[in-house]
Amino acid sequence: MTEAMAPAIEEEFQPSILVFCCNWCSYAGADLAGVSRLQYPVNVKVLRVMCSGRVDPYFILRALELGADGVLITGCEIGDCHYISGNVKAKERIERLSKLLDQIGIGSDRIRLEWIAASEGTKFAQVMEEFTDHITNLGPNPLKGSETGGG
């Protein structure tokens, strides 16, 4: 076992994960996780947007096209949206994009939508942990390294 372990650590797959956080709930949740000194994987890169409704399906597909292994979209609970219904729209869009991802072979399990409130620092850390594990098990994005056009 010891002989297998050394190279295994070297070659271990480290996914790169993009997380869209809405300004009002999830980003504050991430902040709370930070100030509470909760540990979560370093694979996630948080990108703040004003609302989960701002996340165009194109952003997600573009991230995958450019080689992100997973994309997580987080927002306020339904009913809590700062802009009333942005998260409802985000939910619809993600559902549609999931079908497209299944169809073109990337697979909808590389994206996920989660509601994380400002008070849920622990949940934020947990979700990051879970999703990173999930993507690690899925393996690298099949598009990684492929040549992509466009700007």
Partner: protein
């Protein structure tokens, strides 16, 4: 911008022949609502050369490439071809169009071009449909399943076109080949100037068809047909398989007496000549022949029909703007004025765009535009099954009530 390339474009597309008569401008659907744009000006700017860098000009992205200008030009200048060439130049310099859907469709096509992921292309097939692994006839389904996923909430059921095509062929005793590994034809990338990825898609698709051993390829989509017939053959030389749009295929079958229509309710239709089918491919008579051969179907012409037909407003999912919306409103009002029961369109994308324009708030009264839109192939299939019916008109108020968030 590579000056040599622009020079070559100018001579290839016959831009030097432009006598600045402005006939193209008088018919351009974009100019009518956006006076700052004119096909002639684009060419004039290019001819001015040095001072004008067209690749940074938004004009080249505004054009709908509907070819109504080419049609009108007494000196046969290929304005649309010129615009496409300029887009290629612009795209090499990193300029991009404003894509509707944020560019989602173009990204999807780029992904297809650059990977061989296992696609789920054939989920639309039902048990009643008879298909073959190898055969003489290949049905090129194109992007219909993907478009259905992207526009899901709209209940357009675009793959019904593919199902209808198979059903009709089965009725004629043909079991078509459909491929799980075909990719998008690349039409939108081609017109967005992304030649590199377009060529990848082209090589793949041509190989798929050659491997299938098919002698005839049938396209339910005018854009795929145009791309294969004109663009692919431009790059690769003439193919040894025959390419035919479903309307040609059906017109021939009716002529040969292979299709018989049972009794149906009688409906009146009006036909929208999509730019790719009409002006690009010159197929005006075939769809009309099919529609008029159906005993219970009456065809009323739109005021602007055949080569003068107006546009659905958007091409290649680029530059959907206020001009497009006005064009779509005009089209829907024209269709409503004919007092036909349905507007028949051969192009799935025209259907998407025209349906989009009648959603939510519209600048004109709902009564002036609420004519249902039907796909050409679906209508023929329904008529063949004796199940012709008029779909519900787009009752905006009822739909807005349905779609209100709780």
């Amino acid at each position: 911008m590579d000056k040599e390339n622009v020079k070559r474009l100018i001579s290839d597309m016959g831009a030097h022949d432009c006598v600045e008569c402005g006939k193209c401008t008088t018919v351009c659907p974009v100019t009518r609502f956006n006076p700052e744009f004119a096909p002639r000006l684009v060419v004039v700017k290019a001819l001015a050369g040095e001072e004008m860098d067209l690749s940074k000009d938004s004009d080249i992205w505004i054009c709908n490439t509907c070819e109504i200008c080419n049609n009108m030009c007494p000196y046969e200048v290929d304005y649309s071809g010129f615009i496409r060439g300029m887009r290629g130049e612009a795209s090499r310099e990193g300029h991009e169009p404003d894509c509707s859907q944020g560019g989602l469709l173009h990204a999807m096509m780029r992904i297809m071009a650059n990977s061989d992921l296992p696609q789920k292309r054939l989920d639309w097939i039902t048990d009643e449909l008879k298909l073959a692994d190898k055969g003489d006839v290949f049905l090129f389904v194109g992007c219909l399943p993907q478009l259905d996923a992207i526009f899901e909430g709209r209940n357009l059921d675009l793959v019904e076109t593919a199902r209808s095509a198979v059903r009709i062929m089965n009725r004629m005793g043909i079991e078509p080949v459909v491929s799980p590994i075909e990719k998008c034809c690349g039409h939108d990338l081609n017109w967005a100037g992304d030649e590199k990825n377009f060529i990848k898609l082209m090589n793949h698709n041509v190989q798929v068809i050659k491997d299938s051993g098919a002698k005839t390829v049938v396209f339910p989509c005018p854009e795929c047909m145009r791309t294969f017939d004109l663009d692919y053959q431009d790059f690769l030389g003439d193919f040894d398989f025959e390419m035919t749009h479903i309307s040609e295929f059906l017109a021939r079958a009716i002529e040969e007496g292979k299709l018989e229509f049972p009794e149906n309710i009688s409906i009146s239709t009006t036909f929208h000549d999509s730019c790719r089918l009409g002006r690009h491919l010159g197929l005006y008579d075939e769809p009309r022949k099919v529609l008029t051969e159906i005993p219970s179907v009456e065809l009323v012409e739109l005021e602007k029909n055949r080569d003068a037909a107006t546009c659905c407003g958007v091409s290649g999912f680029m530059s959907c703007n206020s001009t497009s919306k006005v064009m779509q409103m005009e089209k829907m009002q024209d269709a409503k004025r004919t007092e036909a029961d349905v507007l028949v369109t051969p192009c799935a994308k025209c259907r998407i765009h025209l349906d989009c324009s009648t959603r939510d708030e519209t600048p004109v009264d709902n009564d002036l535009i609420n004519i249902p839109i039907m796909d050409f192939t679906v209508l023929v299939d329904m008529a063949l099954r004796g199940k012709l019916q008029i779909p519900d008109a787009q009752d905006k108020e009822a739909r807005m009530e349905d779609e209100k968030p709780e």
